[in-house]
């Protein structure tokens, strides 16, 4: 399949739970669009289920979840399992923002969220380039 005939990759993006922090995902949205992705932008204060529904409806290649307000552990519990249930096991799931609450080693934080079903978990202030490069690699777009 050559590049031109490949359909535009689709990404669902938003800030999960009751989290209102919308600046990071807004910035990410612009960067993704500039990098050629189709972005289904859900904004902030988005229940987990809405991500899943949107991914299903848009046949998304990836779900990018942002969480900053410190309650990601609760908001994201079983996110992977819920996706699996909805038949979205194959969809790439990334999580970023500020996931640490009590100071702890990054490895530990990462492990907790990988156990919740995320393929990639990002530390605070990850640059948009980094996430885009990962996405391209993971979706075999390069």
């Amino acid at each position: 399949m050559d590049r031109s005939s490949r359909r535009q990759p689709v990404v669902v993006l938003g800030t999960i739970g009751h989290d209102a922090h919308i600046v990071g995902s807004s910035v990410l949205r612009i960067a993704l669009e500039e990098a050629g992705f189709k972005v289904v932008f859900l904004g902030a204060v988005v229940p987990a289920e809405e991500f899943i529904d949107a991914a299903r409806e848009s046949a998304a290649d990836a779900i990018l979840v942002s969480s900053l307000y410190g309650m990601a552990r609760i908001d994201c519990s079983d996110f992977g399992a819920k996706c699996e249930e909805a038949g979205l096991g194959h969809v790439k799931k990334y999580l970023g923002g500020i996931l640490v609450t009590d100071p702890e080693a990054w490895d530990q934080t990462e492990q907790i969220f990988r156990a919740q079903g995320f393929d990639r978990v990002y530390p605070p202030q990850t640059k948009t380039d980094v996430a885009i490069a990962d996405l391209k690699r993971d979706l075999g777009l390069d």
Binding site: I22, V23, I74, I98, T101, D102, P103
Partner: protein
Amino acid sequence: MTMLAGIPLRTAQWDWDYFLHQRREVLSLWPSGSELQGDDAIAAGVAYHKAQPWWKYASLRNKRAQQEQRIQLVPQVGHALTEQTIAHMQCSEDLGPDRWYVLTDTYTRKAEYAKAQDAVERSRRDGFSYLNGYPLAAHGVSGARAVNECTRAAVGTDNNDEDARLPWEIALAAGWTWGTIKSIEELIQHSRDFPVDRNIHNQQYIDRLAAHYTEQGVPILRRASANLPGWDSLGFKVTVSLLEVLLSAAQGVKFIDLSIGIGMNLVQDVAAIQALRALAREYLDKLGFGDVEIHSWTYFFLGDWPLQRGQMVGQLALNATISALAGCSGMYIKSPDEATTTPTGEGFREAMEICGQVVRLVAGQRLPESPELATERAMIECEVRAVVAKIMELGNGDIAVGACRGFETGVIDTMFSPYRFLKGKVKVVRDANGALRYLDPGLTPIPREVAEYHRECISRREAKEGTQAGVRWIVREATWASRSLRDEVAERSY
């Protein structure tokens, strides 16, 4: 949800009976409220208050600090468990914070008390805080009293979002003496689709409650904050804070703090603080609230903070310097953990030292009056007068009603908000000196001269950088303050 729930609003003090009617409902929202049913409970709360020394009162500390020309510092706290919260507070007790700013968790702010309770239990089990604040309703009056009694500081709360009525009942009954009450700001900042009228109505409840305590001789202080995100225009912040002040005064509140989240441009921040103070006094007097006491406060930059500890503390100290040079009564500080975790007690101890030293050294110094400052202040005043006039007009003279219509019509608007009912047409960028300017005022009734002034300032930066203002600028500025110095040096050609 729709933008309006159809609640009849009026900007005038509630009848006590109307209040009591609502109150029964509020107190039944969660078991910890039931203990407070009945007028007796308020009387008991008042009695507890009256046994407290003067320095537990934010309102009285304001007066004293002014006499002593001392600038007050307020650290913040909020963990799932009472013990965790107290342990955090103990870290700074010997540094004499003037107030403790106890933030409630997001579930509590959304009145999802069962979820908060659940998280408390999980936190107890795992020895970890699963909440991003202190769940006032879950811990009830006994927990809140323990928090109050662990410190000499005046304890207060920030817990709106959508419904903070029950937590406020608990806080006041527990001897807390101040808090932030917000409605307009909260929708813009924290909500996706909560109705405006319901939020203002909830706010009026709290203001009415605070006013009642005050009528009983307990000088409760209400903070009318506009700690809107650091990317917002200063004029917009002043408008929002002013509206909160007027809504609050209408319910009978007598001690009000004005609070502006600073943008980190010295002249513009000072101008905003001065403009808000002048306008608040003027409107209060005009509307018959001459007896309301106001004080100017700042809130540290609510934008991006850097990860690197050195950069972080530099930015902290700069925020303290600007606040002190503005001659404010006090400031809400941040900690060096800001960009990385939920703030720790140790972090706030360091922040108390950093900001305490700055404030001590700058004491008595002020940004002198100058043509630049006067222009900036005049522009902000001009903008705010126009917007508030429009809101009054939309509400046929009623602020609460006008505010609702302001949301509907785009008269109240900004960028980067989760609130779906906001128009989101406004665009703000920084000029060459780092002052915040309207690139596009959207549908807000910004007077032409203000818009032109902002546009000119933007042009100067365009000329200097040889680029054009637009979305690129906005994106870059979203991470302007947090940019790593190391990265910046790496990009230098030498």
